[in-house]
Symmetry: C2
Subunit: 280 residues, 2 copies
Amino acid sequence: MNVWVTEWQTPDVGLSLKVKAVLWQERTPYQELAVVDTEAYGRVLLLDGAIQTTDRDEYVYHEMITHVPLTVHPHPRRVAVIGGGDGGTIREILKHPEVEEVHLVEIDERVVEASRRFFPRIAEKLDDPRVHLHFTDGIAWVRDARNFDVILVDSTDPVGPAEGLFTPAFYASLAAALGPDGIATVQSESPFLQADLIRRIHTGMRASFAGVYLYLANVPTYPSGLWSFTLGSKGPDPGAARPGPAGMATRYWSPEVQAAAFRLPVFVQELVRAEEPAQP
Amino acid sequence: MNVWVTEWQTPDVGLSLKVKAVLWQERTPYQELAVVDTEAYGRVLLLDGAIQTTDRDEYVYHEMITHVPLTVHPHPRRVAVIGGGDGGTIREILKHPEVEEVHLVEIDERVVEASRRFFPRIAEKLDDPRVHLHFTDGIAWVRDARNFDVILVDSTDPVGPAEGLFTPAFYASLAAALGPDGIATVQSESPFLQADLIRRIHTGMRASFAGVYLYLANVPTYPSGLWSFTLGSKGPDPGAARPGPAGMATRYWSPEVQAAAFRLPVFVQELVRAEEPAQP
């Protein structure tokens, strides 16, 4: 049989993957959730038709959203993840031995259940004693949070349940939830396809963080294959990152890859520079 | 009307673009050539169904195949391009004022004709007096060439007319066609999807070049969005590249982006390192 799943990455661009089997489909209280097994990328988790994670390339996104802020912060002990119900970001965070507690704030418990069942290698650390699960709205949760070292916003696209995670008010809450050296990193979509959104995120974060920095990673199943993250820092400079835990096993991230990820192509640099305050 | 063009990037992955108009279709003596106008990427040139270049992202590939080797070579005066009939690589080469002559060796004259007609901004330098056009087989042409400073292999995928451009025998010809400081750079496909091919290219180039180096760039319309180039050097070290012409206008490349392009993700580094000679 010739079955394909297509993500309409924009109204004008589709990525199609040949399907071996549709493993799961449900409508949760928040979104449509599907798990399909594909020839090219193994098992794929889709929310509202958008690819969230795949067995074969998940390491890129999860390593890069995690190890960059956790090596920029001087001593990340208390960490929170907003979204990220598949557990991949949790798995990477727990590779840092100095982390004492991690809070996962996922609005949709069904995402966590699906990941435990269909993506056991991604979800493998969700039962670690350092992990605290909160099935609730991340916006309200962050409003009451205080003294975190690092908060990672591992969200879906800015439509549906994640929309409120892309607002200046939320970035102000993030900053207030962080301690003095605090770092927040948010996934910020593709520079090729969502330039305006990246500009808005950058401007929004600048109102609440002393330093705001964009960095990039290559995720083949995300639109355009080039993904961005925006890091807001209340103090530490990404140029002075620690090298990371000795012998930490990674497949994409290294200290050298991290340094290179901040060297932006000219068109991306111009995109962000326009949002910086004018130089005297 | 709802018209789409789909490239089957592998038997299991397709990229679809919404079409405004099909502008041209022909079967040349060598391949099927098509030009379509798309919503997302403007005009797109396809050969045998594979996207070669688009108005909106062509600068990434053309800048990165060109400016890296031309700044690694200490004085690139004589340059050749094998393939590259759209003319984008020629346009970038001629941004380097020290270049005295460029030879474009394209097997299919119809590609050049289509580019002149449908991609005038890409083809704009094909009539420069420094450019010499040769509509002939690149393999035979390189066999007789001597004393080039830089040769760029701007080929299609290793099926059809370009197959012979991915062999150790061709890499030996390239090395023989270069002067003592000579540099060859070949487009070498996607690390996510063509790992075996990248290994074969690396091994093949190592037999003929003192130093072989992989570097990366983000091309959203190429499979996986992450593209590689393999640079073979008879002498110069990419770590000692010149900064490039003062004030050169680019949209992707910069000296910093060039340095970062050689910092390979762990999985890519391992892919290539396996092909290096064992350390004592």
